[in-house]
Amino acid sequence: MRNKAALSVCDATPSPRGGEGNQSARLGFTLLLAATLLPTPAFAAGIGGAIEPVIYELMVFAMAIFVGYYVVWSVTPALHTPLMSVTNAISSVIVVGALLAVAVEHGGMDSFTNFDGSLASKVFGLLALAMAAVNIFGGFLVTQRMLAMYKKKGDKR
């Protein structure tokens, strides 16, 4: 029973350090590191050709899914609501796309030569920027507010 095992992982992490959950998270980190180190030039030369960036990105993506799997199973159920709000906040890292759209100017990047659609691009970028900003500030702050409420017996505010 795969899910049984996974459930016991999240049960087994009452202490901040140690426990099964930590181990699986460490395994996840190792996997991610391996993924980022894999496509070295030597490796590419060995199989006779350069690896397309998208393949490299797919590797990172696949490994990150595994990391996500282990890390999220180790989240205590009591914190599932903050988990949702913090994932909301971090998925707003999509703001990098919005920032590029707004901030890249003439000559800012090699291929930036065309201005035909640049006004539309800036408008959409600005809208995306504002929305992502709502989420970044709102998401992290509301998570902070929630987490501040979780107290142990005897803890004073």
């Binding site: 998270a25 990150a64 949702m84 901030a103 600005l126």
Partner: protein
């Protein structure tokens, strides 16, 4: 900045995001985790600005305006929102991520040069695939979350809306979506096809959420969480940005796991939830016909029974959230503890409208988290409890889930409240829960129904305890 340094910085922010989630394994480390997340976000934004290196003041004004307005709205909302409104806030945030993904994809379509993915009308094939997937999932997330928001905040009835032939319509829309994406990718990036994909996906998002009933919202909200992640990952591939890809994968799998846990908590398959049509907000009295006798009790009776107990377990449900009874409940717990009674809280995984809903409300009311227990940890203690106080919950304590094979909730894990000495059942009325199923626990010999509003009744119990 060298391309390698940029990639490393984005990787660093991706790792910091992992640490943010990692911190949530315990409340003690969670705050540090949140700071790691903030730092990751700051690194990602700083790096992006350094690459773009804008010179014109106008550009800086635009950035400041976008961040300032959005940030202010976000910060004020985060400060003011009452904890009971968390489910709809999360849904609203999801919709913003979805819409932001659509807009980022649109700006990449009109100025691909800014993102290094080609020229207008001649965008790289691979980038178009990634972009169209990102925009389709983003648009579904956007409208789906808007509907979820409307249902959760009561702006729309929580009842499932069932269209005739909805499966045929959905299938046709999905087919259209696939065809549009295919044509768009071959076209080199034609504007109208992009917007056709967006609109079709938006309609699809509405149609897949409206048939899902209010009580299945924990699954829906987790699922939309997952979608917002996949949308971000799609855009991450378009922009070749490691931070975005890692984040997308993390959020995507986080939402998927939460959906799985929620489905498990209801003993329903993910497919059956998505197909929808299960459970409205108001279910009629079930069973029909004969009325079995129940024992009714007053607040004074409840106070008397609990005061003389040595162990009381409290089972909160969505009704507690609706009545905002968490503070009164904590006061009751304090009074009982003062009288030497051991008090524990038992939380069912799907109690409330989103994962962890009850835990947040109890934490808000200053209930220490080490008094709050999950289903698997507390069920064995039910037998030793003298009193179980069920407040605003119903189906999660229904013994039919274990005994009645014909019951629609048969097999769902439930809190075995009936094993306790006395069950004090606080409810507004004798109506059935969301599943529309009669609860045999009402008629047990050791059950006393304490009918009334959760908050008022609990406050009255507190008053009676003080005497």
């Amino acid at each position: 900045m060298s391309a390698n340094l940029v990639a490393l910085l984005y990787l660093a922010s991706g790792v910091l995001f992992i640490l943010a989630l990692r911190g949530l394994s315990s409340p003690a480390t969670s705050r540090r985790g949140n700071y790691a997340g903030m730092l990751g976000m700051a690194i990602a934004m700083g790096t992006t600005l350094a690459i773009a290196n804008p010179q014109m003041p106008m550009t800086w004004y635009l950035i400041a305006a976008g961040l300032g307005v959005g940030g202010l709205v976000g910060a004020v909302t985060a400060r003011r929102i009452p904890m009971t409104a968390m489910p709809e806030l999360v849904a609203a945030f999801h919709s913003l991520v979805g819409l932001a993904a659509v807009f980022v994809a649109a700006s990449a379509l009109y100025a691909p040069g800014s993102f290094g993915i080609g020229e207008p009308g001649d965008i790289h094939f691979a980038s178009l695939i990634e972009m169209s997937l990102g925009v389709a999932i983003g648009a579904i997330t956007f409208t789906g979350s808007v509907i979820a928001f409307a249902k959760l905040s009561g702006r729309m009835s929580g009842k499932p809306i069932i269209l005739p032939l909805r499966h045929v319509i959905n299938l046709a829309l999905f087919g259209l979506l696939v065809w549009l994406i295919y044509t768009f990718c071959l076209s080199g990036g034609v504007g109208w096809l992009f917007w056709a994909i967006t609109l079709t996906a938006m309609l699809f998002g509405v149609l897949i959420i409206i048939p899902i009933g209010g009580a299945d919202m924990p699954v829906v909200i987790s699922m939309l969480n997952s979608y917002s992640g996949w949308a971000a990952a799609g855009i991450g591939f378009t922009l070749s940005n490691i931070a975005l890809i890692v984040t997308g994968a993390l959020v995507g799998s986080s939402g998927a796991i939460l959906s799985y846990i929620m489905c498990k908590g209801m003993n329903r398959s993910f497919i059956s939830v998505i197909l929808g049509g299960f459970g409205g907000e108001v279910a009629g009295p079930a069973g029909g016909g004969e009325q079995k006798p129940v024992k009714l009790g007053s607040a004074e009776d409840a106070a008397y029974v609990m005061k003389n107990a040595s162990k009381v377990i409290i089972v909160p449900g969505y009704g507690m959230a609706v009545a905002q009874a968490q503070h009164a409940l904590r006061e009751m717990g304090d009074q009982l503890k003062k009288a030497g009674v051991e008090v524990k809280y038992a939380i069912h995984p799907v109690a409330g409208r989103m994962p962890g809903h009850m835990n947040v409300l109890l934490a808000e009311a200053n209930v220490p988290y080490d008094e709050v227990f999950e289903l698997e940890d507390i069920n064995s203690e039910m037998r030793q409890a003298d009193v179980v106080y069920v407040i605003g919950a119903n189906d999660v304590v229904n013994p039919a889930a274990e005994t009645d094979k014909t019951s629609p909730i048969y097999g769902m894990p439930v809190l075995q409240a009936w094993k306790a000495g006395t069950v004090l059942f606080n409810k507004r009325s004798l109506a059935s829960g969301y599943a529309g199923i009669d609860n045999p626990l009402f008629y047990n010999d050791n059950t006393v129904m304490v009918l009334g509003d959760a908050k008022k009744m609990t406050e009255e119990i507190v008053k009676a305890l003080a005497h």
